[in-house]
Amino acid sequence: MTSAMRIPADVHSEVSRLAAVQSVKPGDLLAKAWAEFLERHRNEMAADLEQMAEIIRNGATEDLAEYVSRNAAERGAQAAKRARGV
């Protein structure tokens, strides 16, 4: 099954260029990139799930939200840059 996906124009252009160089479809290249991302973050994912489980066992949803927001400052800075087209 396939579906359309909106990605930034510069990313689309770069993916298309790389796909052409490797003689593969852009979608297949993106799928491979996702799989690699997943593999690279496997340990981080496991650690996060354990941390979240610990917070849930202690019954504090607000602490869980705080944990999810641990990178809020960085995410905020990135969002502000994107708003300015940087």
Binding site: A72, A80, A83
Partner: protein, 244 residues
């Protein structure tokens, strides 16, 4: 107090509406509306431009006339109330927020006129939401979404178990997941998939998994039981003894 409709609510500087949020930037709140930095939208609900903001932008995210020219390539729409009250709003499509960026009085020829002031703020890069505005938005949104995921993710599993089909759910009103159960004898495999389109989505997926089954029991999955994964879709599954 702001007059919220059914399904709407005020959360700090936001009015959360159906489909998007109306939010005031901190600079506009303090400098233009004269409120303190700890004020909420309810504290400025009586201001003429806030009333107009809620009245107009809860219905349509854009106006009919833009503030231009601006150095940033965003469409800032004029919000007008009576003869003199003017506001500038911007629909931030990525975050689904209509921001009230600036307020002033329209007095042609005056140095304090809204339009030249709005352009000056743009040139000083003080018109658009700052990193701090976004951080506050993200924290408030995470709090709301996480609380709802904790309730709604287990309900999606329950629905998948009852229907025997893949169930699509929009957790926290904004994070889409697919949930499916596969039963084999005394075992069942639960698979949860989500398309990760926004920076927060990976975190929300982890919360959904933890809400369904806490701990490092989840393994990456290559497909859903009845289909392959779409581009950008991540899936995790875990095997357990059959319930019920």
């Amino acid at each position: 107090m702001l007059d919220a409709r059914e399904g709407e609510f005020v959360d700090g500087l936001s009015l959360v509406c159906e489909g998007w949020e109306l939010r005031v930037t901190t600079r506009c709140l303090i400098e233009d509306l004269g409120a303190g930095d700890a004020a909420s939208l309810n504290d400025v609900a009586g201001h003429q431009i806030v009333k107009a903001f809620v009245r107009e932008r809860r219905e349509k995210v854009r106006g009919t006339r833009k503030v231009h020219p601006l150095s940033h390539s965003v469409d800032v729409w004029v919000l007008a109330h009576q003869h003199r009250h003017r506001g500038g709003t911007w629909f931030d499509a990525e975050n689904q927020v209509v921001w009230l960026l600036a307020y002033g009085r329209h007095e042609s020829g005056s140095e304090e006129d809204f339009f030249p002031r709005c352009k000056a703020l743009d040139e000083e890069d003080r018109l658009l939401p700052t990193a701090h505005d976004y951080e506050q938005l993200i924290r408030a949104r995470d709090k709301r979404v996480v609380a709802r995921i904790m309730i709604e993710a287990p309900l999606a599993v329950k629905e998948a178990r009852m229907s025997g089909k893949e169930v699509l759910a929009r957790l926290g009103g904004q994070f889409g997941v697919a949930v499916a159960l596969e039963v084999a004898g005394e075992l069942e495999q639960l698979t949860v998939a989500a398309r990760l389109l926004m920076p927060a989505d990976f975190e929300y997926l982890k919360v959904a998994l933890a809400a369904i089954k806490p701990g490092d029991v989840w393994e990456p999955a290559d497909s859903m039981p009845s289909r392959s994964l779409e581009v950008g879709e991540f899936a995790y599954s875990y095997l357990a003894e059959r319930v019920g």
